[in-house]
């Protein structure tokens, strides 16, 4: 087998659909990686402008309001209102494709009381547009921080409580390929 054939074969065997374990998208920009780091110790952390108090999300180099180089990560309020919700029956990513085989994947968008609009995984199926919700961050199976949306009444103060919600979503476990590779 020459090198070209070998590479071709390796590429074929390395297709996402053939992998034993699929994980959620890991790719983040450098700013996204900072977001992950800043969110490890707290329930929700975001860039806040020290000059104008603007809450910046998605993470950016400069404040979207005053353009100041004055953004610092701070623990922020988790409260917001659900703007819209949807279930994905189709995904471009193997991890979600495998999850969707059992149940459509629910996502939503939230207007945080602090200003930003965020997109997140829905932690509870019963949430409806207009509901008061809370948004917290948690590491997924790719070790990147993602946002989870739950109802405002759900307790999320302690890491254990948040852990339970994420475990129920199967976000921390890679999606295994059934029936071997």
């Amino acid at each position: 087998m020459n090198l070209k054939e070998k590479m071709k074969r390796r590429l074929k065997l390395n297709r996402p659909s053939l992998r034993a374990r699929a994980r959620p998208p890991k790719q983040r920009t450098a700013l996204g990686q900072q977001f992950t780091a800043a969110n490890l110790p707290v329930s929700l952390s975001m860039q806040v402008c020290t000059a104008c108090e603007h809450h910046q999300y998605p993470p950016a180099e400069l404040c979207g309001h005053c353009l100041g180089d004055t953004l610092l990560y701070r623990e922020v309020d988790t409260a917001g209102q659900l703007l819209s919700r949807s279930e994905l029956h189709h995904s471009l990513w193997e991890f979600f494709k495998r999850r969707i085989r059992t149940k459509p994947w629910p996502i939503g968008s939230v207007k945080l009381r602090n200003g930003p609009v965020v997109i997140g995984h829905l932690g509870e199926d019963t949430l409806q547009t207009g509901d008061d919700v809370a948004v917290f961050s948690h590491s997924d199976a790719s070790q990147a921080s993602v946002l989870i949306i739950v109802s405002a009444a759900t307790p999320i103060a302690t890491p254990t409580q948040r852990e339970h919600i994420v475990a129920a979503l199967c976000l921390e476990q890679p999606a295994e390929k059934q029936g071997g590779i």
Partner: protein, 394 residues
């Protein structure tokens, strides 16, 4: 804003539509350029300007293309703005022709569709999308537009049957347009309603099919077009606006609502005088939004409007109110050829207004409104653009 007197659009070209293609973007752009030169009966050196739009040029740019194609243009522009790229290229090029910077400019959108290339584009669309949208289910544009569609349906009471009106009439139009990738298939209301679900309220026929293809046209002075004997179209008015209504939590309107009155005023026309409408139909809700924001009906009234309006090219539908809409089937039935999709409405309008469309020719088409929308940087499409065109013989 100054008018576009003395500048005209000619020579619409659409080619190479395929679901998958081994060719790269430069093949589609170059083939369109070749076709433009052949049809206009000019030589390569006559093309003094080149505006190009593409998502898949990779490390190349319009500069690389000048060397690949053996051109030495004195004016170049790259408008990689998805659904508004055609109208933006048109606006830039028209001013350049008017200012005498170039006498003839080719505006071309083209994209390839290699195996799994759509996945790559969706996963790497923008830094905000990479960090804050794609990780949530990796649905690509379907996920974002399902949120926008769900909210619109809840707020204004639009139903899937209303969206079906747009998709069904467009499919009828595509059945009469040879290049439409789905034009050989008919679509019934039952097919539409029973299609497999994709994301929230979006089902299969609400989503465009990514494909390869190229679209383009020439801009030149009116004198030159007359001299070459090319049928041409005049530009009555255009406008664009980006990141408008950024305070709206969910997108329900875009820039058209800001500039439509001024646009109609410059054109000396109102919505009632528009014979034909070409909207950017990446999802039916977006077409409905354009119909509302461009003044064909009030905000939230789009569902009623499409129920009461026949949008077929030949007016053969039941409703009494007629407005031919996306007369070649739009992206929903032709396929979405990356950035070329932002040119589709313009080339189709050109064919119609110069009476060179074939079996999907609108009988009495004199004025056409073309609108563009695009670039989902994070949670909404940021760009909006519109152009009102008029056939020269009216």
């Amino acid at each position: 804003m100054k008018d576009y007197q003395g500048v005209v659009m000619t020579t619409p070209v659409s080619l190479g539509y395929q679901r998958q293609s081994p060719h790269g973007a430069s093949w589609f752009i170059g083939m369109v350029l070749r076709e433009l030169i052949l049809r206009a009966g000019v030589s390569k050196t006559d093309v003094e300007g080149l505006a190009v739009s593409s998502f898949s040029l990779g490390v190349d740019s319009v500069v690389s293309l000048t060397q690949q194609f053996g051109l030495s243009p004195r004016w170049i522009e790259q408008a990689d703005m998805g659904g508004v790229s055609g109208i933006v290229a048109l606006r830039r090029a028209a001013r350049a022709v008017q200012a005498g910077e170039a006498e003839m400019i080719a505006c071309i959108g083209g994209d390839g569709a290699a195996h799994r290339s759509f996945e790559h584009t969706a996963a790497n669309f923008s830094s905000w999308s990479i960090d804050a949208a794609f990780p949530y289910g990796a649905g690509g544009p379907n996920a974002i537009f399902s949120l926008i569609t769900a909210r619109y349906m809840k707020e204004f009471g639009a139903t899937r049957e209303d969206f079906a009106r747009i998709c069904l009439d467009q499919r009828y139009n595509a059945n009469h347009y040879a290049q439409a990738l789905l034009g050989h298939k008919t679509l019934s209301l039952d097919d539409y309603l029973n299609a497999r679900p994709i994301a929230g309220p979006l089902h299969l026929f609400d989503c465009v099919m990514p494909c390869a293809g190229g679209e383009g046209f020439l801009l030149m002075t009116e004198d030159r077009a007359r001299h070459l004997g090319l049928p041409y179209v005049q530009i009555l008015a255009t406008d664009e606006l980006h990141n408008s209504f950024s305070e709206d939590p969910v997108q329900q309107r875009a820039g058209w609502a800001c500039y439509r009155d001024a646009l109609y005023q410059r054109a000396g026309l109102g919505p009632d005088n528009i014979d034909m409408l070409q909207t950017y139909d990446d999802y039916p809700v977006i077409s409905m939004m354009q119909i509302e924001d461009l003044g064909f009906c009030d905000k939230g009234d789009g569902a009623r409007f499409v129920q009461e309006t026949d949008m077929r090219f030949d007016g053969s539908g039941k409703p009494a109110n007629k407005l031919p809409h996306n007369t070649c089937g739009g992206q929903l039935s032709c396929g979405q050829a990356g950035s070329a999709a932002g040119y589709l409405g313009l080339t189709e309008a050109l064919r119609q207004l110069t009476h060179s469309a074939r079996s999907n020719q609108v009988a009495t088409a004199r004025t056409c409104l073309v609108s563009g929308y695009g670039m989902v940087n994070y949670d909404r499409g940021l760009c909006s653009a519109a152009a009102i065109l008029q056939g020269a013989d009216s």
